[in-house]
Symmetry: C2
Amino acid sequence: MQGLMMDYPLTIDRILEHANRIYPRKKISTKLPDGSMHRYTYANLYGRVKRLANVLDKLGVEPGDRVGTFAWNNYQHLELYYAIPGSGAVIHTLNIRLFPEQLAYVVNHAEDKVVFIDATLLPLFEKVADEIESVQHYVLFNTDAGVETKLPNVSLYEDLMAEASDDYNWRVTDENTAMGLCYTSGTTGDPKGTLYSHRSMYLHTMGANQANVLALTERDVVLPVVPMFHAMAWGLPYSCAFAGAEMILPGPHLQPAALAEMIAEEKVTVPAGVPTIWMMLYQELQENPRDVSHIRVLTVGGAAMPRALIESYEKELDVSVLHAWGMTELSPIGTVSQLQTHHLALPEHEQWDVKERQGYPVAGVEMRIVNEAGEEVSWDGITMGEVQVRGPWIAKGYYKLDASPDHFTPDGWFRTGDVATISEDAYMHITDRTKDLVKSGGEWISSVVLENGLMAHPKVMEAAVIAIPDERWGERPMAVAVLVPEAGAVTTEELNSYLAAKFAKFWLPDKIAFVDEIPKTSVGKFDKKVLRHRYAEGQLG
Amino acid sequence: MQGLMMDYPLTIDRILEHANRIYPRKKISTKLPDGSMHRYTYANLYGRVKRLANVLDKLGVEPGDRVGTFAWNNYQHLELYYAIPGSGAVIHTLNIRLFPEQLAYVVNHAEDKVVFIDATLLPLFEKVADEIESVQHYVLFNTDAGVETKLPNVSLYEDLMAEASDDYNWRVTDENTAMGLCYTSGTTGDPKGTLYSHRSMYLHTMGANQANVLALTERDVVLPVVPMFHAMAWGLPYSCAFAGAEMILPGPHLQPAALAEMIAEEKVTVPAGVPTIWMMLYQELQENPRDVSHIRVLTVGGAAMPRALIESYEKELDVSVLHAWGMTELSPIGTVSQLQTHHLALPEHEQWDVKERQGYPVAGVEMRIVNEAGEEVSWDGITMGEVQVRGPWIAKGYYKLDASPDHFTPDGWFRTGDVATISEDAYMHITDRTKDLVKSGGEWISSVVLENGLMAHPKVMEAAVIAIPDERWGERPMAVAVLVPEAGAVTTEELNSYLAAKFAKFWLPDKIAFVDEIPKTSVGKFDKKVLRHRYAEGQLG
């Protein structure tokens, strides 16, 4: 028997309607390229989104078409976040940090029909202009009629907006309609696209706004430093509107001093970004103290926040840290780490141990950890397993790719590729990526844990660990280390005897190669693919 | 184009799975009939719910069958809240306060197959036993083998539980499956049943847990005084579990002293109930002060909370009040009233003016107010209209009734029957029920507002206003008043000249009948149906 409740589709336009009805006067402020602040309200946003939806219609964008955006965090990008899905099309956020060949690949793979470009990023996009196949129109903003570009069929955003009506009927009635497309910049293989639906993003929005999660309310002033061209800016463009929170959009001004100024002057309550940004902000605040007392919670994700940095913020700056974990395929929020009642009596350093972990699954996300044999392993804080998740805002496949068992299990869970332990009280701690694990004699050795162990040695500046083939054990760990300048001669034995105090004997690397530099990816991570290649070629001795 | 996100049905069992996984040690405490506390955890609840689902199977309950519950707020009732929907059946919560004929009507109309009865309420149910047609089994709890009853086919809850396995596979895969049935005890006509779906209740749960709404977290200790036999106890049995909040279930102990003791001893953070309860609790706390400092927010709904009482709690007891409005057909939460940023600078008395209103629609609920002609009227805080709502947790019809335009508009909104104004900043203030409005010459006169005006007169103890037919104006207001004992002789003219200072001339009642008593409904409201009948019969002179 079916219930007798309204067939009410969960669509993104409902979020904007709510913001316009309940919070019309709440402000959205953007730091423009010239450093001045552009300010308007949710009511203004609402009118302009309807105008923009008419612009899309006029450009020939049809339901299901992909529309690219190549922009910083600003009000125009926010307008696109609502107008493209509202018109029935799919917003494809282009990551400005992709290598040119990847950028061209994703535009062509998505077959974007129109691309909206923040003119401050025009040179970056022009690099790939000749390789783009599908785009019929480019629309530029943050520029004027004097702009010169080699791109064909270019219009100016404000010219199109000026001509358009602000009367528009939202188009989507089926909540499973695609609304967004976001490619992950995997270090292996081509980027893969996650295709969000209206339903999944609406549910993610409501999930994020639960009091146990981001807990946004109309009292908040949110500063999304996390870019809108990556993982939907953690869903904040939608969560803020549904909660009535004010937004501060930093545009291209991501320098620590600029961020510190925005936080102080705009009385930001929720800054949201990656650990690197907060590391730099911390240093900035050390040198030039500012008022950060309005911060309710410094939200951090995208990579593990170093424990020492959490401690510095909480102890020295009295800023509470919310450590979160997610992935593009999770819309992106999967877990959050904040203290629970039973942690409140712990000594401070143990509380930071808790916060260093990536946290518990938010209501709506189910999680398990699974070993090599595909068996679920226990939540004991020690046993490692691959993190697998399922839930209403998690991908079931990639755009225009056949579902592969590498990514999805036969029983319908998404394989994150992260390896973690989960404590008895449900806090996940990521220890590695599956592809970087060393599988030695049926046991898993975490490359990351071993690297941290090596880097704790006073003579080691950087260390990366890779698996090398071994006849007897299948794989064995090998380390590649960069020594500190004044280190002098160091041997594998010296470092291994140091490690032996902390690790089981079978964890110790069979070999440590000393090099001048460890190759890194575009986002600054160790490039283990290159290291494995060099090892195979015999370049690591 | 469809998105590529998981087809993940939103079902109630997911909420319990989450509580068991993330908050297994959080406690649920029940004050038993004998006054002692029964305590167990979400992990215990989980195991017992699975056991109970097997019991239901054994009793022959099949997917879609209705299973009645007739019980106070206690752990057994909570187990039924999860086990019945988890097994694919429909929990039909029977209101213990219904008149016997209404109780028999709803059991027969729903065709309940099994009814679970809290034995402390057995005499109440036995009154209607002979009129019940569909029930094949009765199951009693809070009693032992010595119980005597005239009910046929009776088993004891714990006997059945002891025999059942705690291994069970949840049955529901279609989120639109019915999960709950709740009848409204309308003052006109037969009770009407709202049939909730898994999806609607899951979404209501997530909606309620948003930080702008109830904001429950695992830090909370919730005391649902609002009965589980009415409007799904505002969804708290599900919201608490999804948030990991602890629950204190008061059983039959609803006396003010008992509630005060529970609040103080259990360190309750969120007591939830109707204004009458909080009025009595306030008096109790005046006489016997207790520690209520743990209360984060006193949640009130079901009727308008008098402004003076809000003020007393906030000013004298330092207890923050959350005023909410809902209806059975809304699952039930529709609006909440709490201060927003722009109210914080207001003087205290204006803040209470805000809190006296029923508040703004929660994210997920859309609202409009509509006049006699079916046109939406503006949110100016003055113009009255019928409140109409739509959203994912709102009814689209009643169980086994054809949808009527009296309840649902042609464009798909639910007609609440409440009349309200909405302020420019989106705060609804209910002024009347549509059926009690006086429609005079095309204008609406609120009976409730007029009653309050009359009752403000020092000589008037109670006053009810009804519409009487009028040839020229269609309807005109008539008042029925009870005077205070020492009032002496009072005339219609005297009271009308008092009202004239506050109301437009056309609002003044044409006639005021002075009576000894105003008839009331079972829940203590003025019974205007009876008054209208008496007027028609010429009994009001």
